[in-house]
């Protein structure tokens, strides 16, 4: 399968703290790749390096390379606006803007210069449908997004992300703040979205990783310990530490 994103010898330092240690990892196109590991293992940090959200953290130093379709995203010529249009992100806490549902979804397209009302209407409808939210909100598109339930808000954030037609979607523990039914809905949604998009998801929930991910990477204190097909990682881990973690001996 094609490789969409490739990290090569990626190191990240927060000040003097070595948060990612020489990570090599390929993310395959049209698949779901899960990053698992205990808190503080670097899985979220790694995810954020993939669309340069670490740029806004102070005293961060990154060495090595991350390529998207063979282009180094840390090259000084990179326009982060275009990068983030291609690589969208959904966060742990649903974070809709304090605007209407419609304006939330239209936010991204507007950044990228789409002003035509008809065109925006289409994008909003299409994105909400793709995020399996349209039927629930069709009659109240112009009411505040803050009135939605947590699960709906998270699907709205996915819709907002889809509205700019990304190629990759990064999700940072997207269901950890949600109830089981909302979680299930989002998992089903991701399974469907991978037909069109490349998906990378951080999760602390190993069942979730085994349910939805095609590939799984296990992180421990900044190191990428093991990476492979999800089935292999869970059924016959090569590394003792992976085995200890997935059998619940620590973490």
């Amino acid at each position: 399968m094609d490789i969409k994103i490739q990290a090569k010898h990626l190191n990240l330092f927060y000040g003097t703290k070595h948060a990612l240690k020489d990570v090599d990892l390929d993310i395959k196109k049209n698949a779901i790749t899960a990053f698992i590991g205990p808190s503080g293992c670097g899985k979220s940090t790694f995810l954020k390096t993939l669309n340069r959200m670490n740029d806004y953290v102070k005293n961060v130093k990154i060495t090595g390379e991350v390529t998207l379709d063979k282009e180094n995203i840390y090259d000084s010529r990179v326009d982060t606006t275009i990068l983030r249009k291609k690589v969208g992100m959904v966060f742990q806490q649903p974070n809709p803007f304090p605007m209407s549902i419609y304006d939330n979804v239209a936010y991204g397209p507007r950044i990228h210069g789409i002003k035509n009302k008809k065109q925006l209407d289409d994008i909003v409808e299409r994105s909400l449908k793709a995020a399996a939210l349209y039927d629930e909100v069709a009659d109240r598109l112009h009411t505040s997004a803050l009135g939605l339930s947590g699960g709906q808000q998270q699907r709205l954030c996915i819709a907002r992300c889809l509205a700019v037609e990304p190629e990759v979607i990064l999700l940072d523990e997207p269901t950890s703040a949600l109830d089981p039914i909302s979680t299930l809905k989002i998992e089903e949604l991701l399974m469907e979205l991978k037909q069109k998009y490349t998906i990378a998801i951080v999760t602390h929930n190993m069942q979730q990783a085994s349910r939805i991910a095609d590939y799984t990477a296990f992180f421990l204190v900044g190191e990428m310990v093991e990476y492979g097909k999800t089935n292999d990682v869970f059924s016959m881990p090569k590394d003792k530490r992976t085995e200890d973690y997935i059998t619940g001996r620590f973490g």
Binding site: M53, I82, R84, P98, M99, I111, L146, R160, V164
Partner: protein
């Protein structure tokens, strides 16, 4: 039955404290009521609609505060036009762009000190700096420039607090979807911060309306109607508070109380508007 739930102890210290707290509340509320009441009682009987539409003139034998009302409006608007963009812009810079936290801290501290300086000192500085050095002499512009320096801390401090209160997740969401920093500030941060920013602006307006010491030697005390809407800013103009001071100095208590009444109404109105605006523009409320 020592263990019984019904063994309620009466705690004397609690009761005393309770009474003291109620008493303090009563004093602060009644002070406000007494002051406003006193001004109403003294002001309303003297109040004549004439005052609001006339100029004080010995020739025409009229008494009125229309020029002072107009001057007050001029000073408010002009000060806000000058201090608003600078204060809000400065706060945005300090909060969102400035990278050297040490310098930001020093600036924030200086701003707070600035807010505590007695206003007569601003008057002295304004008179010498804007009035003499820039040759604006006694004018509404000199007054407005002086007050701008005075209210700048109020506006910028409130804006900063409002910006700080915007959840980090909004910033992440906007930047994560490809917004540039300025686009994010314009479309997400500022709309969320508007109630706080407006609170600062309205507090500043209150300060401007109430100011007299800093205006006496900058805007002066002339009480004449504008001849030209624009050039009026270059002429001396006394606000309501200045006129109040002058009337008291001449022992014209009738007019003084009428002015006091008008001032109180303006201040109350500003406060109600502030409340209304911050509720109306609160994007974080649902519905």
């Amino acid at each position: 039955m020592e263990n019984s739930l019904f063994n309620k102890k009466s705690r004397i210290s609690d009761k005393i404290l309770n009474i003291l707290i109620q008493f303090s509340t009563l004093i602060s509320v009644s002070l406000l009521v007494v002051i406003i009441g006193y001004i109403c009682i003294r002001g309303i009987p003297c109040f004549r609609f004439d005052y609001l539409i006339n100029t004080t003139s010995i020739l025409k034998n009229t008494v009125g505060i229309l020029p002072n009302i107009i001057n007050t409006i001029y000073i408010i608007l002009l000060t806000l036009i000058i201090a608003g963009p600078i204060g809000i812009g400065g706060a945005i810079y300090l909060n969102e762009y400035a990278t050297n936290k040490k310098i930001v801290e020093i600036i924030s501290f200086t701003t707070e000190v600035l807010a505590g300086i007695p206003s007569i000192i601003y008057g002295l500085f304004g008179m010498l700096f804007f009035g003499n050095l820039f040759n604006l002499s006694y004018s509404i512009l000199t007054g407005a420039l002086t007050l701008s320096i005075m209210v700048l801390p109020i506006i910028s401090r409130n804006t900063q607090v409002a910006l700080e209160a915007v959840p980090k997740s909004y910033r992440e969401a906007a930047l994560g979807i490809g917004a540039t920093k300025w686009y994010m500030i314009r479309t997400v941060l500022l709309p969320s911060a508007i109630p706080g920013v407006l609170t600062g602006v309205i507090l500043a307006m209150g300060r401007i309306v109430a100011e007299s010491a800093a205006l006496l030697f900058t805007a002066g005390s002339v009480s004449a109607l504008p001849i030209n809407i624009f050039s009026h800013i270059f002429s001396s103009g006394g606000t309501l508070t200045i006129q109040l001071y002058l009337e008291m100095a001449k022992a014209h208590y009738e007019v003084a109380f009428v002015i006091a009444l008008v001032l109180i109404i303006i201040v109350l109105a500003l406060n109600f508007i502030a409340k209304w605006i911050s509720q109306k523009f609160d994007v974080n409320k649902v519905g």
